[in-house]
Amino acid sequence: MPHLKVQMAGISLDSPLVLASGVLGVTASSMRRVVDHGAGAVTTKSCSIDPRKGHPGPCIVPYEHGMLNAVGLSNPGVDAVVREIATYREECQAPIFASVFAGSVEEFGEVTRRIAAGTPDLIEVNVSCPNVQSEFGAPFGASFEDTAAITRIVKENAGNIPVAIKLTVHCPSIGRMAKVCEDNGADAITAINTIGPGMLIDVGVMRPILSNKMGGVSGSGIFPVALKAVWEIHRNCTLPIIATGGVSNGDEAAQMILAGAHTVAIGSAVYNRGIEVFQRVNEELLDILELHEMQNLEDLRGGAHE
């Protein structure tokens, strides 16, 4: 019988499917419910040192090929997330990844030091959110120097908790960026974040729909972009990859693994296929392994490069 168990950065997962950051990741019970529906691990919504209310609505709008979001990194602050992780541990065994972001290299160190106190299984460092440019300038993930400096300070503050750097495609070369992360001590790469930002205008009132006017694009439309990024990262560094970007079915998850991913994060697809998407994609992945007479996902991983 084939199985879906995977090992990544010293973490054991029953399924390669991870709940992506920013989706259903505010509360412990919500994340436990996602695990009940088949996710192998969950990621908390990205948090900062201080609480943030985020942008007014509309902040998430679906369109024909995916969705646009400018939630504005709302979060209850890192210390509240540490308490939420503790509650999650009481309810659930599956690994929990904690996503963090900050406005400066030093603050990345501080938020990491404080989230590490909650002992998540992995710290995901969001250097690539496109939604706060006016406040924080261009994403750090666009600069090799900034990404290197953040990787180093985060590793210094993470203790023995593995660190994944979450990259954006909006950089000179995501393959080289991943190598920079590896050279500076990262344990894994998450790729990609939302792309753009993009915009939608309501023709009835002739105004941009999002209150922030622009927002990150996610969902099915960005899948080929994310897949190619994972492919490039796999060719340029040896770190395990948490692949994310538009995956909504077993075929797409298998494509990510064939391109080199260890795990596959799912977010926007919860909208199209419901919270049950995790169980369904697990079943679809098992069908694919069976069809190819493979025993586990290692047989599949990186297979498209050969």
Partner: protein
């Protein structure tokens, strides 16, 4: 109307009092009683509202001015365009001999349920509660129809609290279920009374919402992880059994739990 943004002109405004108005829109998409829509006032914000009626493509949204968004909504005139998305969530299901209860701002969704019952010939009984007579939504209609009205100060109908009246009415043994909407403290009381009588309930809950499409996780209830925007806002006693934060202050826009509850959570 669907989950993508579309704007609709206001076709009529009815003023019940300066802080309570009903807005009418031409929307053919069927909305069930208890379901909600997101209303976008361009340049301001987007907030969830339940529907107070829909008939022949005429959608009715009743809004009480309690915060910055709803105060701005009071300025809307016929011809002004707002965004409407939805319908979202699960509404009420209609049962013979249901006791339909609306307290305060909660009258809007149960009004639609009661109107639908009348139209379909389903026998139901309506209980309306408010702080005082001027805050009873659609007062003239309900006084004329002889609805059971109770106010805190006794200025209209009986004097007292909604749960007390409901307890008295349930003693008659005439009712099959309670369908209710209103402040959470009232819902908790009704849930307990229903338990005493071994009656099923359908209660409509509110939580801070951002996306309304089951993605953001902001409105999840503790314990079960149920999303108020998808599995709710109307929840049954079975669904409520696993929830651990009913009656507690709600989480705010950051996701932190607030220090104290508001009486009416409308934006």
């Amino acid at each position: 109307m669907n989950e993508q943004m579309q704007t609709f002109p206001v076709i009529e405004v009815v003023e019940h009092n300066p802080t309570l108005k009903t807005f009418y829109f031409k929307v053919k998409t069927p909305v069930q009683p208890g379901q909600f829509v997101l209303m976008w006032i361009p340049g301001l914000d987007e907030k969830p509202f339940s529907i107070s009626h829909q008939i022949k493509g005429r959608l009715e949204i009743t809004i009480k001015a309690v915060g910055p968004f709803t105060q701005k909504a009071m300025e809307l005139q016929p011809g002004d365009k707002v965004g409407l998305r939805g319908p979202f969530g699960r509404g009420f299901s209609l049962h013979e001999n249901a006791l339909i209860v609306g307290a305060g701002c909660g009258v809007a969704p149960v009004r639609y349920l009661h109107e639908m019952a009348k139209r379909q010939g389903v026998n139901t009984t309506l209980v309306l509660g408010a702080r005082n007579g001027t805050e009873v939504m659609f007062r003239d209609q309900y006084v004329k129809e002889g609805a059971n009205i109770i106010t805190d100060d006794g200025s209209l109908g009986q004097k007292g609290l909604v749960p007390d009246l409901v307890r008295k009415m349930l003693a008659t043994g005439k009712y099959s279920t309670i369908c209710a909407s209103g402040p959470e403290v009232v819902l908790v009381a009704l849930q307990n009374i229903a338990k005493e009588h071994n009656l099923p309930v359908q209660l409509s809950f509110e939580r801070y919402m951002k996306c309304a499409i089951g993605i953001c996780g902001q409105c999840c209830l503790d314990g079960s992880g149920i999303r108020v925007c998808i599995e709710g806002p109307v929840l049954t006693h079975e669904e409520l059994d696993q929830v651990t934060d009913i009656g507690l202050p709600h989480r705010d826009a950051t996701g932190q739990r607030a220090e104290k509850s508001g009486v009416c959570q409308q934006p």
